[in-house]
């Protein structure tokens, strides 16, 4: 089933065009990887999906992005509601400088998801368990989240993102600041999370895209060159640019 449908998406930073006429369908409960060389626009596209580009004054987005058949670029779309449904994990772990518990409980609190302390405790526990972090932090829930290791911080950020039970999770190079062991943990986690969430991951690592994703989109110079099942893109791409990038001839 198709969860997100992007049609004719153009993005401009001031006068400079960053994305050209992107059209991409994203399958529900699957992992879609966006790959491509630096500056190709894959992160920009990712940020279109939860309207994070709104934060940048000079950025303009054109075109339609349908999530559950609703155009999020429409004026009637409420970004607060949208971002409740579309969680995001960033490149660098960015926990709030608060306790582990407060990091997780923040989203449910502002969206009024827990009626009591017990409910909140439950949300925190399940979110941390889903993020495979519970065993490591259950005794230090009230210590600062910034005191965890890099990999733990990133899993904390994932736990924070899933605490509001989003339908989609956007991940912007979530492992680029982590060591191989932490990366493996996160990749395992992504595999687990796709049962309940639709995941879109931007990555620089071809191997990672091949390992975790079912679908892949290849971006180059602001254009979506090719997209399809990961198997096909990696084994038998239609476009020579894709072929060149995947075999390491550029990028």
């Amino acid at each position: 089933m198709i969860k997100i449908k992007a049609k004719n998406v153009d993005v401009f930073y001031g006068k400079k065009q960053a994305l050209y006429n992107i059209g991409l369908d994203i399958e529900e409960n699957q992992v879609t990887a966006l790959i491509g060389p630096s500056g190709c626009g894959k992160s920009t596209f990712l940020r279109c999906l939860n309207r994070m580009n709104d934060v940048i004054d000079i950025c303009r987005v054109k075109g339609e992005i349908l999530i559950n058949d609703f155009n999020i670029n429409d004026k009637s779309c409420d970004v607060v509601r949208l971002r409740e449904k579309i969680g995001m994990v960033f490149q660098k772990p960015n926990p709030f400088p608060k306790t582990v518990y407060e990091n997780i409980s923040y989203g449910p609190t502002i969206h009024g998801m827990a009626q009591s302390k017990q409910e909140m405790d439950e949300i925190v526990e399940t979110s941390l368990k889903k993020a495979a972090l519970w065993e490591e932090v259950k005794d230090r829930l009230h210590e600062p989240g910034t005191g965890l290791s890099g990999g733990q911080q990133q899993r904390l950020c994932i736990a924070r993102a899933i605490s509001v039970r989003p339908e989609v999770i956007l991940m912007d190079e979530p492992c680029s600041a982590l060591d191989p062991i932490a990366t493996a943990q996160i990749e395992e986690l992504i595999d687990e999370l796709k049962k309940e969430h639709t995941i879109i991951i931007v990555t620089h690592s071809m191997a990672q895209a091949a390992r975790v994703s079912q679908n892949t989109g290849f971006f180059h110079l602001g254009q979506l060159i090719e997209h399809g099942s990961t198997d096909k893109i990696f084994k038998n791409p239609d476009n020579t640019k894709t072929q060149d990038y995947i075999t390491g001839r550029f990028g």
Partner: protein, 422 residues
């Protein structure tokens, strides 16, 4: 070839060495000036914290005080102390003529009557008895006792007569002159008599001014900073505002004084010489300082924190209030304290709005006339009496102490509460 390279290297090392020497020299100069400044203030000012007292036997003669038998407390309040006060001074020299009696009287402060009265009120059993009472020495004798007065000047150029000096020396020889910690410097308001002048009025005036300034400047500045940093669109209009705020920080303080005079006093008719007007005027001055500090500390909050909150579905307002502002508070607060410390040392605008007036009462609220510490320094520095010289330095010491404490406090807030990012 090799040799010239070595020469070049040597030259570079020498240049670096010279540069270090210049730097050290500059630091040495700065420290030297600072030391001279502090030494001068302390050496002039420390004696102001001591006060000279004459110990004079006073006979509490009921008849002279016009008191009946078994007087009530009220009777004691209303009794006439002038005569016994005068008599006890005159008795220092039984052979004194009328002129000399007058000179004897002027050896103590004009508070001597009150001091004698307080002695009796504290101990009503003294009626009919004689007791040695501590009387504040006149400012000139105070200076003589502290060794600040040139005794070898010809008599007609001195404010102390030979006769007074003779009697004073007799008292000193008998051990009837004592120097004690000068509590009244902190508890008395200003006075024309240096021995009775204190900083209570100006100290309270400064406190009230700073409080008014804080209450106005802090909320306005923080709101302005948050709006400009987090909400305002970046366009020409906001650029224009930003430039003007920075310009405002560079406006000479006396201009704000004129503004206070022309607007607060002339148009709104707020009470003249009060910490209320002083505080409002100072808050105009402090505003840009706090705005700039608050904006800088908002800017220092990493954008990743904002993005994290926004991506969780927090509104802009929630992102700002839950995350950005709390994280920027340490910087904002220390900037505020530094702004207030500047305001505390400000003199010119306060002179213009009339806080330079002679105030011999201690203000109980920001609506009462008062001076402020720096203005008090100015007033005393203008006065002719020798006794005020040490008072000026002492007042500077109090003001500096105040400023150092505030700056220390700002440093502590900054270091203790500033969050570390990941």
């Amino acid at each position: 070839m090799n040799k010239s390279k070595e020469q070049l290297l040597n030259k570079r090392y020498k240049a670096e060495q010279r540069f270090r020497l210049y730097g050290l020299g500059a630091i040495f100069m700065a420290l030297l000036f600072l030391t001279i400044f502090i030494f001068k203030i302390f050496s002039t000012g420390y004696s102001a914290f001591q006060k000279t007292w004459l110990i004079v036997p006073v006979t509490f003669d009921a008849e002279l005080m016009m008191l009946e038998q078994n007087p009530s407390n009220e009777d004691l309040q209303d009794a006439d102390y002038y005569d016994i006060a005068l008599k006890s001074m005159a008795d220092l020299d039984p052979n004194a003529n009328e002129d000399q009696e007058n000179e004897l009287k002027r050896m103590v402060s004009y508070f001597f009557e009150k001091e004698i009265k307080n002695e009796l009120l504290n101990n009503p059993g003294l009626i009919g008895k004689t007791k040695e009472v501590y009387l504040t020495a006149s400012d000139d004798l105070d200076q003589v006792f502290k060794g600040n007065y040139p005794r070898d000047l010809p008599e007609d150029q001195r404010r102390v007569s030979d006769y007074q000096l003779k009697i004073f020396d007799q008292l000193v020889a008998k051990g009837k002159v004592e120097s004690k910690f000068n509590i009244s410097f902190f508890t008395y308001a200003d006075s024309r008599e240096p021995e009775l002048a204190g900083i209570a009025s100006s100290f309270m005036g400064s406190i009230f001014s700073i409080l008014v300034c804080l209450m106005i400047a802090f909320p306005v500045a923080v709101l302005a900073a948050i709006y400009l940093e987090e909400f305002a669109p970046k366009n020409r209009f906001t650029d224009f505002i930003e430039v003007n705020i920075n310009n405002l920080a560079a406006v000479p303080s006396i201009v704000f004084g004129l503004l206070g005079l022309g607007v607060l006093l002339a148009i709104f008719h707020l009470p003249r010489s009060t910490p209320l007007v002083g505080g409002i005027t100072l808050s105009l001055m402090t505003l840009p300082t706090i705005i700039i500090a608050a904006r800088a500390s908002l800017k220092a909050v990493p954008p990743s924190i904002r993005e994290a909150a926004l991506a969780m579905g927090a509104s802009r307002m929630q992102t700002t209030m839950h995350h950005t502002v709390p994280l920027s508070m340490p910087g904002t607060l220390s900037g505020t304290i530094i702004g207030l410390a500047q305001a505390l040392g400000e003199t010119a605008p306060l002179i213009l709005i009339g806080m330079v007036a002679f105030v011999n009462t201690i203000p109980g609220s920001p609506m009462d006339p008062a001076a402020s510490l720096p203005v008090q320094i100015y007033i005393w520095a203008e006065s002719a009496e020798r006794g005020f010289v040490e008072k000026v330095s002492a007042c500077i010491m109090v003001l500096l102490g105040f400023l150092i404490i505030m700056n220390l406090f700002a440093q502590i807030i900054r270091h203790k509460f500033e969050k570390k990012w990941s």
